[in-house]
Structure formats: structure tokens, C-alpha cells
Symmetry: C2
């Protein structure tokens, strides 16, 4: 660290803590191809690359059982981790599942959470090989997934180059729209919001698309959108030492997003930029390859539609070009896990 | 499942949940050498065996910061997981560390927890390769460790044979004694209890001893003692489809245990049988090999002293032969993670 020593009593943000862990942890070398800082670490085991990723979910912080059923919870915890493997272009293989539960939990609750986890295991050919079960005041879930890298090198956050097209693999903000709908008291099965509720409760990680894109060897940088385009693109830019310019008019929204946003007095562009949990892929590539990659991605996985939303620039930071011609910096407006409340 | 279908509203114990996960999860085959149910799963990656293990620790359930300092907490979380690798005879390699913390945690707290984790990483040549940092009402830690198997096959719980000697790698109940001392209001640095407090706060996982024992190829079954001899030996016996007989007079206690127990009005044999968190190794072998294995273990790691405490029998269940000549069944008196309170 440079400058004056940090104040030991100072309060830390999530980014502070990630930087501290990175400064203490292992560097990429020998049998560790990629260390902390990407969507997953990559280990070299006997010449083959394996991605490992982990996510911790806490009741009341990451989910609320009044909006998320226990089966959805198991599904979504798996989706978040599978999305990290997707972003590396890796094939899901094994999982370890830790579950904290209040004392003497009802069988129905446990079976439903596990049912959601196992449904995703079956869909993605992933084998559960271990775990831990403990008592906890809230429900706590930790997943650790291992995937096989099938390409010479995995797709990283750090490969973006000035002039690259910035693309996303599907509509943005649908999960945030679904959460806003549920929080407003809307029914989960209401016809007008079913698309958004489904996106929020049962996101489809872009595993097949991620593998196809990585295998094309035409992707420069890739990561998954878990915290929102604004903060995730800022992280990709920081890792690649570049900037980005996103065009509001190009942001893909679900067709019904504007109507639902008007009803909820919300801004669908804000949902798209900062909502998080879309679990779409964020990809950069040479502008001439967008069409080819969009075809590959669409062929590999139903529902995937890769579209350009902007470009990588020589500068730093992420700029949003508004439809009215104005520009504003949108870096790091996403989800800070240590804020008291998630932004709406 | 046999018999009538389980009641979906029934309340589940930890053993119920483990059985449910096992019934849903992957069986050992192809690239999965050992699935759920041992100290760690063993994956076959390109012909080499790798162990993976995970543990979830929740503040107020597994630790209390009024007894356990944050550096000790990081240390102990690592020790618990390293102990699982030790029980497989594996060499520690990589770790993923998830940390849940209250909003805006003080830097000193975060640095101390991480300091304990990193100290154990350095001591055991383990590289931290990933993790997750989230907000949580309590401190929550999940570790996932990967180790390399260096033997033809790892030491499992299921290999015990009738007639085997049952051995443990060091004194039992010291951790429970330390916890009892701290809970009674005793100072952590009081001379008469320092040995017990150290055993409770900074357990030394038997990593080198576990590797040496596994490499001897004379160990029939091995696991680590995390929940207490009574319940852990019952698990080993169930996995091996055998019983065991433990002799009270052979249970190794720390030299000062009797004195401290008298002062705290506690039973040191109870500490040894059900205290948990000793992180010693539980080993079975042919009776004629005890001396050789004890030498190997002592040479491999300071503080390790392998001693016979009983034998494997043809029956089922674990019987304690009391010093007064009576016998009692002690199966499953250990730590049920779903009980409200840990037994004293």
C-alpha cells in the first residue's frame, strides 16, 4: 500500500475488503492460472484448467422468503454460481453446498431448497460432491462450484481493448423489475409481470452461450452481470485498464419493461444499469465480430440475444450517452454489498 | 426411502438433512472417487486425486467473539477445514474464503480475521484463490479447501475391520476444557488453563501426521475428530459397518485436565467423549502396526502422539468400557448442529 498507513478503526467498503484479500492472496503462477479478481479462479491441474468459484447468500440481505420461495432460492443460488462459470466459458462439473438453517427446520423447507439446487445440477450436468449443514439464525447458503475449462485459455475480464464493441447477452433490468413488482405487493403469477418475476426468481445462467463464445476465440473479455451493468462494466474496464461508453438508446430492455416501470413509477434505464442479478454475459470483441458471435450465442442457448450496447474507449470510467445527447459518468452505481439497503 | 413417506412438516435433525443430501447427490463413479459422506470428496482430475471440503461457521453458533478473538477465528476456521484434508492424507493446495460481515466493518476486525486465515495458509503452503465478501447480520465464514491426494487411494472412514486397534493422535477434550474455562469467566492467559485455551482457540490440524499415516498404507480407516470421539467414532463405525469398544482407562487426557475439571465441576471424560473440536485424527489399523504408526506420526509432526483407545468389533454401536468394569453405549452423544445448545 502507498501513502499513509490505513486507519485500523476505519470502516471498510466491499471494494476495500476485496482489495485487502487480493493483496494477501496468491498471485497467478505455476498451477494457479488466474487468481482472485475474475469471475472464478483457474487452477492448472495436470495441464487441464479448472475454474473454481464461490458465493455466499444470507437471508434478509440477498433474499427474502416473502418474495423468493425455497425452491427458487436453491435454483437462484446455483444460477449465480453457474453464471460465474459461464463467464469463464467453463463446463460445470462439481459443487459443494453449505446450508445454514434455524434449529429443527421443517422437512418441506429443506427439501424445497435442495430441490431447486438439484434441478439446476441436473440441467447443467453438475454433481454435488460435498457440503456442510449447520444451525444459523438466518438461512445461509454457500456454494462452491468447479468447472472444466475447454479452451486454451479462459475468457477473462482483463482482455478488453479500445475500439472493442461492448455487448450483452439479453435484456437488462428484468430481474430488478421483478423484484420491484414483488416489493410493491404484486402477485408472483400476475400476467403482466410474469416475465419479470421469472427473471428475478429463476434466472437462466448463460452456460451454453458462455462456452460457445469462449470456444469461438473471438471474445476479448467476458464477465457475468450480477451487480448491474454500471458497476460490472466498471470492473471489467478497471481489469482491462480501459474505459467504456454505453449508449442509452442501445440498452436492451424487455418489451414490457416500459409499461411496468410506468405503473411502478420507476425508471427502466435505472433497472438496466444498476438493478443487478440479470446474470447475462458482458462481452467485448472486435466490432466486426459482433454479428458472428451473436449467431453463435443464439444457436447455443435459447433466449440468448447478444447485442452491442457501446464501445471500449482509451479513457477510464464508464460514460453513459443519454438519448437526449448528454453524457454522464455511471461508474460504480451498482450494488455495494455493504450498503444497508440495495438501491431500488 | 423405505416405509411410509416422510411427513413434509416434520422437523429435521442434522443427520436427517445429511442423509437427504446424500440421497440426492452424486454417487462415486468415473471422475468422482469419493462422494458425500467422508471428511472430503475426492475428484479424479486427469488421473490425480484431489480432495475438496467445505465448512460453514456462523457467529453465535460456532463461535462467540467474546471468547474467540478475530485472529483466532480465522485460524480456527482454517484449522477445521485443514483437519478434513489431514483425515484424507491430502496435501493442502488451494482455498476459497467467503466472509459475511455486518455493514461497514472496522478495518481492524477484517484484517485480524484475514490475518488468522493467511497465517494458516502460509504454514500449510495453501494459496487463497477466490472468495466472496457480503453483508450479514452475524459474521459468517465459509471455507472450501482443495488438497492433493499423494497416495494410491485416500484414507477413508469405511475401511475399519473387526479386530483393528482404534487410535487417536493426541489428548482429547482439551478444546472443550478451554471453552468451559472461558465460559466460566476465566482469563485466556491464565497460567493454569493456557494449555486448554490454546487447544480451543488455536488447534493444530494434524496435516503432516495425516499425510505420513496415509503414505504408510497401513491405516485401515481415518477421520478427524471434530464433534467428539463418541459421535465421530460412531460415524466411522457406521461407514465401515462395524462396532467399537473404547476403554475409559485408555482415553488420553491432557495432564492438567483432571485438575481443571475438578475446579470447574466438570467431567474430563465427558469432555473427551463429546467435547468436539479437538481436531485430532481417529485411526484404525492392525493391532501389530500401532507402534510403527505411532513412530511415523510422532516423527512427522510435533505434538502428535498416537495411542490406542480401544478396538473395532463385529457388532454395531460404540461401547464405552468404564474403569469400574461397567459398560455403556455412547453412540451419538456428540454435537448435533441443530440442537439449541452445544452439550457442555
Amino acid at each position: 500500500m502507498s501513502g499513509s498507513p490505513p486507519d485500523p478503526k476505519a470502516l471498510m467498503s466491499e471494494e476495500d475488503i476485496i482489495r485487502l484479500v487480493q493483496s494477501l492472496a496468491g498471485e497467478s503462477k505455476d498451477e494457479l492460472w488466474v487468481g482472485i479478481g475474475d469471475d472464478a479462479a483457474v487452477l492448472n491441474l495436470g495441464g487441464r484448467g479448472f475454474c473454481v468459484t464461490t458465493d455466499l447468500l444470507v437471508e434478509g440481505v440477498h433474499f427474502d422468503l416473502s418474495y423468493t420461495g425455497p425452491h427458487d432460492l436453491g435454483w437462484k443460488a446455483m444460477a449465480a454460481n453457474l453464471s460465474d462459470l459461464a463467464a469463464m466459458g467453463a463446463r460445470p462439473r462439481w459443487g459443494l453446498f453449505s446450508l445454514g438453517l434455524p434449529p429443527r427446520p421443517p422437512r418441506r423447507l429443506v427439501e424445497s431448497i435442495l430441490g431447486g439446487v438439484m434441478e439446476m445440477c441436473r440441467r447443467h450436468n453438475l454433481t454435488l460432491v460435498g457440503g456442510d449443514t449447520v444451525r444459523s439464525p438466518q438461512i445461509v447458503i454457500n456454494l462452491c462450484l468447479i468447472g472444466a475449462v475447454e479452451t486454451k485459455s479462459p475468457a477473462l475480464r482483463s482482455g478488453a481493448r479500445p475500439g472493442d464493441a461492448v455487448c450483452v447477452s439479453g435484456p437488462l433490468g428484468s430481474s430488478a423489475a421483478g423484484l420491484a413488482w414483488l416489493k410493491s405487493g404484486g402477485a408472483a403469477d400476475d400476467g403482466q409481470a410474469a416475465w419479470a418475476v421469472a427473471a428475478h426468481l429463476r434466472p437462466e445462467p448463460r452456460v451454453a452461450a458462455g462456452r460457445a463464445l469462449a470456444q469461438s476465440e473471438r471474445v476479448h473479455a467476458m464477465m457475468d452481470l450480477s451487480d448491474g451493468l454500471a458497476s460490472d462494466l466498471a470492473r471489467l474496464c478497471a481489469a482491462s485498464q480501459v474505459g467504456a461508453r454505453v449508449e442509452e438508446s442501445l440498452l436492451p430492455l424487455a418489451p414490457q419493461a416500459a409499461g411496468l416501470a410506468a405503473q411502478l413509477k420507476a425508471d427502466p434505464i435505472q433497472w438496466a444499469l444498476t438493478g443487478g442479478e440479470d446474470f447475462e454475459l458482458l462481452v467485448t470483441c472486435a466490432p466486426g465480430n459482433v454479428e458472428l458471435l451473436a449467431e453463435l450465442a443464439a444457436d447455443s442457448q435459447k433466449g440468448v440475444s447478444l447485442r452491442r450496447v457501446g464501445e471500449i474507449t482509451r479513457g477510464r470510467g464508464v460514460v453513459l450517452a443519454r438519448a437526449d445527447g448528454s453524457e454522464e459518468e455511471i461508474t460504480l452505481q451498482g450494488f455495494d454489498h455493504f450498503r444497508e439497503e440495495k438501491s431500488p
